[in-house]
Amino acid sequence: MSAVARFLTRRQHEGPGRGRARRWSVADVLTYGYLIAGVLVMFGPVAWLVLSSFKTQANLLEFPPTLLPLAQDTAVVDGHPEPLPLFDVVQDDGSTVRLAQVRRIGLVAQMVDPVNPDEVLRVPIERRTPVRNFRLATENYIESFGRFNFATYLRNSVIVTIGATLITLIINSMAAFALSKYRFRGRNAIFLVIIATLMIPISVILVPVYLVITQVGWINSLWGVIIPGAATPTGVFLLRQYMLTIPDELLDSGRIDGASEWRIYWQIVLPLAAPALAVLAIFSVMWRWNDFLWPLIVLTRSEFFTLQVGLNAFQGELNVQWHYVLAMTVLTLLPITVVFSLLQRFITTGIASTGVKG
């Protein structure tokens, strides 16, 4: 325990055996207070979502809510095909016995002793308290897969994310290659136009893009979601800046060896631009997985919904079935969380150095 405490109170540049530790200043206390409050505020809501998603429907409806997922214990009793819920019942003499409830009629419950199931006891309901224990209601997850086309939405989201990311990487890197490694008429004009639209969001041109999509026939098609965002100005800009640092001599030596321009592009330039491509790939996955407004407009039939649109559709239903919505929300944030925990350092430094984001 003391080792843990020492670790937790340790500060940078201060290890065991390096002399007497500096005393904690007010600023240190404030700093760590702020950081710990930050952990609670940032992770707390997500943790609460995950805890709630494992609660049974009955447990979710309780107010005030329980911290941990609790479910009522049940017992299989002879003569009853279904497992019966267990209660602790206070008897007349003040002692407590554990009984199973057969049915409830108004203010009276019919209960049986699981050991002696023949004798039915009548108990006023205020005398009984449910026997509850910690249990994860994994059925929320299993059932939500079967209902609401969850599997279809998941598939659509995966297709959109992977397809769009691959297309984005290929066409953006081709354009960046041309813009960084060739001199041609119109190069600066093209680059300027791309930069100028860096900040124009799709929300500003919603109506005309919708018209174009309709003309092409991509309403209710995943192509309509994938293609319009594929020519990201951000991606072209990012890759061009990176490719400018690749020495032209490498390309020339490829040409001397008789390689075609296409081969130079995919065998020399792309492998060297791998770090920038990786950053763009991560961004693209983030953008596409989380995209909402555009799929909401293009996809109107539920068999084409992506996860985000599908999730929004259920939570908007009149009777929100929170036990399913919460489970699906957790499943939706899971892939991003896994990717983030694996590539955390990479993502944060990538964003800090480029300043782009979805």
Binding site: R11, Q12, A27, L35, G38, V39, M42, P45, V46, W48, L49, L61, P64, P65, I170, M174, A178, Y182, F184, R187, T197, M199, I200, P201, V204, I205, L206, V207, P208, Y210, L211, P228, G229, A231, V236, S260, W262, W266, N290, F292, L293, I297, Q308, L311, N312, G316, W322, L326, T329, T332, L333, I336, F340, Q344, I347, T348, I351, A352, G355, K357
Partner: protein, 342 residues
């Protein structure tokens, strides 16, 4: 670690080789088109072929729609196709901007537009100032000599990656009438509040939730800015006997200013475009208390039985003009801070 590779390493190598094989095959397949094209065009004109796919998508889905949007704004009716839409000139804009009293949305012909504009104004003001303040404090805390900086940095950054729909659902669940926040209020001896039925509370939470979701991004940018301030300056200040507060005012703040402006403008641009989180969290309600500009555009053009595309386009031209001004400011400022922003 050396020696015979274990199963994981073998599988890894296998996947690596397979990926390379697929990559080479795909690229060679494209080469069947690109290599004859080079013979036809010559080396120098290959550049056009390389930019072509991106330029096509860009032109069809971004550039052309941008121009078309202006035309849409000058036509009316519920037909989507331009040839079926009567040209009305500036009528949509006139209707949009007609108010007897600009201070009161109810006196405007298009009262929902003005309500959305006012909501967006309130939202942008409080969200951006809150965002800059919170990210500044957080980045300064993270810049101190602390244990596990990487961990704390990713804690603040984590919500940035969550989808807006997920963010909204997390908070909707917390803020609902029988939610955990009201349980905490009751436990503290306070009255529960139905946050989503009160316009002011709904707007407050919309602002707080969007700060919660995005502050990690701006914190990272500010942290990068702080770390680029040379330590020698502080050491020199310490020799001269400057207090912490003085050091902040005279060293940190002036040197961080370019980064601060970038954060300010970026968060401004994003706040003006806010839609997803708010739409899922409140649906613009109660009433239209949290309806923002992009939601007005969406509702006018798509979320209704008789869409008014002309009106939606006119509103988005207005929004685009606002964003353009913000972008121009950013480009001006960006010249001074290229180290932090690409």
């Amino acid at each position: 670690m050396a020696g015979t590779p274990n199963a994981f390493q073998r599988a890894n190598a296998l996947v690596g080789r397979a990926t390379q094989r697929v990559y080479a095959l795909t690229m060679n397949a494209f080469g069947l088109v690109m290599e004859p094209a080079q013979k036809l065009l010559g080396v120098r004109r290959m550049a056009y072929l390389f930019v072509l796919p991106n330029l096509l998508v860009f032109g069809i889905f971004i550039l052309f729609p941008m121009l078309l949007n202006v035309y849409f704004a000058m036509t009316e009716g519920g037909n989507l196709f331009p040839q079926d839409r009567p040209f009305v000139g500036a009528a949509n804009f006139e209707r949009l901007y007609t108010c007897t009293d600009y201070g009161d949305p109810n006196t405007c012909l298009e009262d929902r537009f003005w309500r959305a504009a006012r909501n967006t104004g309130v939202f942008v003001f409080f969200q951006v100032s809150g965002m800059v303040l919170v990210s500044l404090i957080t980045s300064m805390v993270l810049n101190r000599k602390i244990v596990a900086r990487g961990f704390f940095r990713s804690v603040y950054f984590y919500p940035v990656l969550l989808s807006p729909v997920v963010v909204a659902l997390i908070w909707k669940w917390i803020l609902q009438r029988d939610g955990v926040l009201n349980a905490i209020l009751i436990a503290l001896g306070l009255d529960p509040i139905n946050f989503m039925l009160d316009g002011t509370w709904a707007m407050t939470w919309v602002i707080l939730v969007s700060i919660w979701a995005h502050m990690g991004f701006y914190t990272l940018i500010l942290l990068a800015g702080l770390q680029s301030i040379p330590n020698e300056l502080y050491d020199a200040g310490a020799i001269d006997g400057t207090s912490t507060l003085q050091a902040f005012r005279h060293i940190t703040l002036p040197l961080l200013m370019p980064t601060m402006m970038v954060v300010l403008v970026l968060s401004l641009i994003r706040a003006v475009q806010m839609f997803d989180e708010v739409f899922v969290l409140t649906g613009g309600g109660p009433g239209s208390a949290t309806m923002l500009m992009v939601q007005y555009i969406y509702m006018t053009g798509f979320g209704t039985q008789n869409p008014r595309f002309g009106m939606a386009a006119a509103a988005s031209v207005t929004l685009g003009a606002v964003l353009l001004v913000a972008t121009l400011i950013q480009l001006r400022l960006g010249q001074g801070s290229e180290r932090h922003l690409a």
